[in-house]
Amino acid sequence: MMPEVSVPNVALSDVFRPSADVLSQDVGGEAVLLDLASETYFGLDPIGTRIWQLLGEGHTLQSIRDRLASEYDAPAARIEADLIALVAQLRAAGLATSD
């Protein structure tokens, strides 16, 4: 679904927001995104969908990491790595931008 990218310049203090040109819809617990600029559809798994929701609320990545750690039974380091990787993919695809 998302391009594999390296993760430079993503810090836990950053705030990323969904790009203005992206439509999203929760479809059975998973988000489907449509980037109006590239006319491309994307899908997110349930955890990606939760991250997308929290990005939309304007949280820092650190806050999102902490929220996810309280919601999911997974090591914090794993959650942080997955979070940063997804955010980097969203940014590379033009779906999210940092403040």
């Binding site: 439509l23 819809q25 489907v32 006319e39 559809y41």
Partner: protein, 289 residues
């Protein structure tokens, strides 16, 4: 509503000043066979050396401009199979690359890119009593609680090997068209056709044919949404409002819960097995509902 069709006098295709914003290519050669151009009053679809079609901005009017010597069957075929679905999509109607047949509980659609076998499967069903609804350009309409399928042109196009295996000499082919080697079979006696709009009972997205048995697997709503989106007819998605409307349609289809992946060996002798499996599956779905 179907767009009106006006046929202009034949004319040689002149070079166009503006480059196309999209084009279709022939899979084998890679050559462009249709290019899409924006014009002040709508769009021009240029089928190279065959015809230009001018589609109005509201999708309600089409003017066909054939090249000199183009036969009427080819012009009609281009309009019905290529231009009409695109014109309907500009009216905001959801149109997809899918064939469909009518079953007692409603219409089932076989959704796939060209060459995956959707026409063959629909024809097999039609030859065994399930009326043909659409060969391609599946037109849907949102209604309370779901979608309704509108029948399209009463014909089906098959490659020669499929035609020979499925119908042999039982059915007369329709007039040939000059740009395709497919045979067109017209619905009628032996190939029943459904003239009514029926509820969409199920959509089966055809796999590659690598499976050694009939496999029917559920799709999540998100998977179904993305699959519908990837098989849509869309003339021009340059307008955000139009694209947003399309997004709403495919997400509504995705949450219906009536989409499955279907794969099976591409072997004509196994088609009865595929049909039996699909009928049993629809019975089970209908019973569960």
């Amino acid at each position: 509503m179907d767009p009106s069709l006006t046929i202009a006098p034949a004319q040689v295709q002149q070079a166009l000043a503006a480059p196309p914003f999209n084009h279709w290519t022939e899979p084998a050669s890679g050559a462009t066979w249709c290019s899409f151009h924006r014009e002040p009053a709508g769009w021009r679809l240029r089928f190279v050396d065959l015809a230009d079609f001018l589609v109005s901005a509201d999708g309600l009017a089409v003017t066909a401009c054939p090249t000199p010597g183009l036969d009427a069957a080819t012009l009609e075929h281009l309009f019905l199979n290529q231009v009409l679905p695109l014109a309907l999509s500009t009216q905001g109607k959801p149109v997809f690359h899918a064939s469909a047949v009518a079953l007692p509980a409603g219409t089932i659609a076989f959704v796939a890119a060209s060459g995956r076998g959707k026409s063959t499967l629909a024809t097999h069903f039609a030859l065994h009593g399930a009326a043909l609804v659409s060969d391609d350009g599946l037109l849907l309409e949102a209604v309370a609680g779901g979608f309704r399928v509108h029948p399209s042109h009463p014909s089906v196009r098959l490659w020669e090997d499929s035609r020979a295996a499925l119908v042999g000499t039982r059915l007369e082919p329709g007039p040939p068209v000059s740009y395709s080697h497919k045979t067109r079979l017209l619905a009628g006696e032996g190939l029943p056709y459904c003239r009514d709009a029926l509820p969409l009972a199920g959509a089966y997205f055809l796999g590659t044919g690598d499976s050694d048995r009939v496999r029917i697997e559920p799709m999540s709503p998100a998977e179904a949404t993305l699959a519908w989106a990837s098989h849509a007819f869309l003339l021009d998605v340059g307008e955000k409002q139009r694209l947003a409307g399309h997004f709403a349609q495919v997400t509504a289809l995705g949450v219906l819960g009536c989409a499955w992946r279907l794969d099976y060996p591409r072997n004509y002798a196994r088609l009865p097995e595929v049909r039996d499996a699909l009928l049993a599956h629809q019975d089970a779905v209908d019973g569960a509902g």
